[in-house]
Amino acid sequence: MREVSVIGVGITPFAKYRDKTLADIGWPAVKAAIEDAGVEKKDIEAAYCGSALGGMMSGQRVMKQLGITGLPITNIENACSSSSSAFRQAYISVAAGVYDVALVMGVEKLTKFGGGTLPLEKEDFEVTHGLVMPALYGMRARRYMHDYGLTEEQLAGVAVKAHKHGALNPEAQFRNEVTLDEVMNARQIAEPFTLLHCCPSGDGASAVVIASAEKARQYTTSPVRVACSEVNSGKYMTGFRDMTTPEITVRGAKQAYEEAGIGPDDVDVAEVHDAFTIAELLYYEALGFCDKGDAAKLLEDGETSLGGRIPVNPSGGLLSKGHPIGATGTAQIAEVVRQLRGECGDRQVDGAKVGLTHCTGGGISGFDHGACSIHIFSV
């Protein structure tokens, strides 16, 4: 397998684009990534598109707007991990020497469903019985609060931190800071969550151009190395499981660190899947940033805020930057690549050399999560 580098990234800022088609939400991110990479359209040998709910041929619909057609375009659905899973497929193809340059995108238009909670698969038993994503995470939160003494104030602190970071990101869906009181007194969604504990619904796109390390040098003096690329599925269990430990992330993180040859202490910046406040705390522990039960302390000590030991979600994360499902994976990658290139302005993590992205989700019966993808990048 060859070394692979990211040479370009682009984002269509996350927002509500009710009057735009999926194709028109998607192409600006792709164009930006191509221009950032400095490649010609004809240099792109293959494209991989992640979308959870975009419908058939999402990738072709976006690429035709830019006249990039005729190449192999593969569409990938893996819930929240759709575009991070697409990234892994692109990575494998370039690492294996099949292509020298490939494009990955994530695109989503959730406003087409109106508001409310994410539409889930109707064939699923728990979904037909009223399971919604906020309730699933709400149950995780309730159990964690019981088992580890987490308070509602500490939990709300995750949203305060997310918005503090998001306020510094011109591409975030929410760019306002919020107070602890505002988080705790917002309208109830699924207890213990108010609206501000939940990521917003929205639209957006993100794209990444990758190349073999050798080819990358033709295009850029600042390639970002892909140190590991990992995708897992959840394990189906009919019996009891510990909802305070996201097994799939623990397993994936172990594999990712082994593949990259580093440990959690070597990570300078991370973008993790904070779909709900509790999720971020669970992932601090699962990714090894702190011991089990210490997540609230890590947050309160400011270690995961900008300026701390391991800043998490400098982009604002899903809670503030937004979460157009399939677009999130490559958007996280775009943020970490920009961090490692030192381009993030007010939200820059000083001297970041190693960055991690973590994208997981998929609410289906009997699974902790349906899918999880972890990537590590370095310069």
Binding site: P119, V132, P134, A190, F240
Partner: protein
């Protein structure tokens, strides 16, 4: 909201083959047990998730369990009576079941408290009541 379904009224039975009505008015949850490897699972399926055997027989599940966690749901898709309490119940035979928790105020719930099987009207489908299994705290 009625806590027990009136079986004389027209209503949508949500759980279908996963619930059996007994002659005394009570209900049982029905899962699947693999004849070849003994794995018990819920809801049932035509193939065993452990050994892929297709010799799966209906198996009654326990009526009692403990409440692993819960969330009071205020925002849900159309059709559900909100707010409702969503929970995971750990049955005494080792199966975890997603269920609505009914017949109680959420403030009275406790982690790992004993709950037992019941039925409840949980919402409506274009005016027709939707009934399914639910769990309720064991009194006393």
């Amino acid at each position: 909201m009625a806590q027990t379904a009136e079986h004389t009224e027209a209503h949508v039975l949500l759980a279908g083959e996963s619930v059996r009505n007994e002659s005394d008015g009570s209900v049982r949850l029905v899962g699947g047990r693999c004849d070849d490897c003994g794995t018990l699972f819920f809801p049932s399926a035509h193939v065993c998730p452990e050994c892929m055997s297709e010799a799966v027989a209906a198996a009654d599940l326990a009526n009692d369990g403990t409440l692993y966690s819960w969330s009071v749901v205020h925002v849900a898709p159309r059709g559900w009576n909100t707010p409702y309490i969503a929970g995971y119940v750990d049955l005494s035979d080792g199966i975890r079941v997603f269920a609505h928790v009914t017949g109680t105020d959420a403030s009275l719930l406790e982690m790992d408290m004993a709950v037992s099987l019941t039925t409840a009207i949980l919402g409506d489908d274009d005016g027709v009541p939707v009934e399914s299994y639910a769990f309720t705290p064991v009194k006393g």
